[in-house]
């Protein structure tokens, strides 16, 4: 059989299907509706995207900050969410949580206020005994602990399993009142999605779990490992793009320079993971850009403490590059350090007589640590060496008071 035969056979076969005229007016009207919703969605997203990127690195340094802002409520899924709720999900499954619930409002891994938790890969290592018993639900891909005994049931015709509801007793530990909390998990094997609800009573857990639905026409944006959890693989961007495309999305990639960051690491996705969207929708992922030069291969900080152990001041990488001024006390120590490929060549050139090299050779920052020895102003120009060339990162003005 030749190519020509095959084309001919397909043509003949296809011709037997009588096709009506295209429903152009319906498509035009439907597209107008979708476009209006999308415009609103973009506006909501524009307002949150900065927070999302900052959130990518904020968890370690600023516990308690919300690492993932709420998904925009005005999305195609809005039609399917009961009034006053928003959908957050995994695969085709989603839970309709009250709109006022926060996203990832956690402290030490405990809910601070009613919240849905999704895509959290790093939890602060601390204990919060007195965490209140507030409504919350955790969404996780897969099932972290087997459900026993598991009860089989269906959600919208899709097989689901439910574990027993267990409650802890109210208690007082070290003088701290620990409230009673109940929890139960529902798992949907076809979606590989688990939903763990927690609340003060069995009845409320039951009610929260009853909000899970399956929406075959929508699919949740999959999550990704956050940069600060240090778990991203070397091809994180490539793998995440593939996961999004497998889920049916069209992926656009934007890059953002992040000094010292690994090119290809994912900083954010828009809309947020867990947002229910239609396959074929476009999602935008933000990756760490290739460094534009050696200066972007490192991330630096300038910190100061003293005299003694008090009066800590710090400058971020961005502040250093912007040429910030730092005011320190006579007798204080100021040093620079950083991370990245060429950080071993980090050096600081001091002008002025207010600072003198800290001669503590055993110190961790020997060579780029100074002591404020005189009132006045000095500058520190921070450099690295790349391929034998001196590369300036930034100049900090130090005012010694």
């Amino acid at each position: 059989m030749t190519d020509h035969d095959l084309a001919h056979l397909l043509e003949r076969s296809a011709d037997r299907t009588s096709v009506g005229s295209p429903p152009v007016p319906e498509m035009l009207a439907h597209a107008d509706g979708l476009r209006r919703r999308r415009t609103a969605l973009r506006a909501a997203v524009a307002a949150t995207s900065v927070v999302a990127v900052v959130g990518g690195t904020a968890l370690v340094t600023a516990p308690g900050t919300d690492p993932a802002p709420s998904p925009p409520v005005d999305s195609p899924a809005v039609d399917l969410a009961p009034p006053g709720t928003r959908l957050v999900g995994i695969g085709h499954s989603a839970i309709a949580v009250p709109e006022e619930w926060a996203t990832n409002a956690l402290r030490c891994g405990e809910a601070e206020k009613p919240t849905v938790v999704i895509g959290v890969t790093a939890i602060e290592a601390c204990l919060w005994l007195g965490a209140p018993a507030v409504d919350n639900v955790w969404l996780e891909p897969g099932l972290s602990e087997p459900l026993y005994p598991a009860e089989d049931f269906e959600i919208d015709g899709v097989a689901a399993q439910r574990g027993p509801t267990t409650c802890t007793d109210a208690d007082t530990v070290d003088g701290v009142e620990v409230p009673r909390k109940c929890t139960a998990t529902v798992y949907l094997p076809t979606e590989s999605a688990s939903y763990r609800a927690e609340a003060a009573t069995e009845e409320r857990v039951e009610e929260i779990l009853s909000w899970i639905r399956v929406h075959p026409e929508l699919v949740a944006l999959p999550g990704y490992e956050r940069v600060n959890s240090n778990h991203q693989d070397d091809d994180a961007g490539e793998h995440y793009r593939a996961a999004l495309e497998d889920a049916g999305f069209v992926v656009e990639t934007v890059t953002e320079s992040q000094p010292g960051g690994k090119p290809g690491y994912i900083l954010g996705v828009d809309p947020q993971p867990g947002t229910m969207a239609e396959p074929g929708d476009t999602v935008t992922i933000t990756e760490v850009a290739e460094p534009r030069g050696p200066a972007e291969e490192v991330s630096v900080e300038v910190n100061s403490v003293g005299p003694g152990e008090s009066n800590f001041h710090g400058l971020t990488d961005a502040e250093v590059r912007a040429g910030a001024t730092i005011r320190i006390e006579l007798g204080a120590t100021i040093w620079t350090y950083g991370s990245g490929r060429r950080i071993g060549t980090l050096a600081g050139e001091v002008s002025g007589t207010a600072l003198a090299l800290d001669d503590w050779e055993e110190g961790p920052n020997y060579g780029h640590s100074w002591v404020a020895v005189e009132r006045g102003t000095s500058t520190i120009t921070i450099t690295i060496t790349a391929d034998g060339r001196r590369v300036e990162i930034g100049t900090v003005t130090v005012v010694v008071r």
Binding site: E11, S21, L28, G157, G280
Partner: protein, 169 residues
């Protein structure tokens, strides 16, 4: 481009492509009604992003990409829905492909292909996309597409259903 201009351009595009897109979806295994729904949904998505469709290097390749995504997700939905249930619903969905397929050797043969091979054959030999366009439509490297096509052609060549057509040209 203003809304009217865009709508006019879209209407013209749809008039030219509608029947072939619907028939492509039928060859992919949809019932005629399902095919019209899928093509309508895909084209609506294209219209929402029409500026992107216009800018695309190859409009047909992009439209087929959206069509293919829509088709795949509809199939997935079908699969998700097909769970064993305790009670069989009263109203059975009429599967008119079966009756239709039985009278049609080529459709029967297409069913012997893997889903990937079937899509490749339909896009290449019915939608007449070039291999380059198929890399865009299926988001797969040219080598993958070539190998899907050549395996599919081998299966079809060995298919007794099509023996009467073999060598006839």
């Amino acid at each position: 481009m203003d809304r009217d201009g865009r709508n006019a351009e879209f209407t013209e595009y749809v008039a030219a492509r509608w029947a072939r897109l619907v028939r492509s979806a039928v060859l992919l295994g949809c019932t005629p009604a399902e095919a019209e729904d899928i093509v309508q949904a895909a084209l609506t998505r294209c219209l929402v992003n029409w500026s992107k469709v216009r800018r695309a290097d190859d409009r047909d390749a992009y439209v087929h990409r959206i069509l293919f995504n829509t088709f795949t997700s509809a199939r997935r939905r079908h699969w998700t829905r097909e769970r064993p249930v305790a009670e069989v619903p009263d109203q059975q969905q009429v599967d008119d492909t079966t009756a239709y397929d039985d009278s049609d050797a080529i459709v029967r043969s297409l069913q012997r292909l893997t889903p990937d091979q079937r899509v490749a054959v339909v896009l290449r030999y019915y939608a007449h996309l070039s291999e380059q366009q198929m890399t865009v439509a299926l988001d797969a490297p040219a080598g993958t597409i070539k190998s899907r096509l050549s395996r599919a052609l081998k299966v079809l060549a060995d298919d007794p259903n099509l023996s009467e057509f073999r060598g006839a040209s």
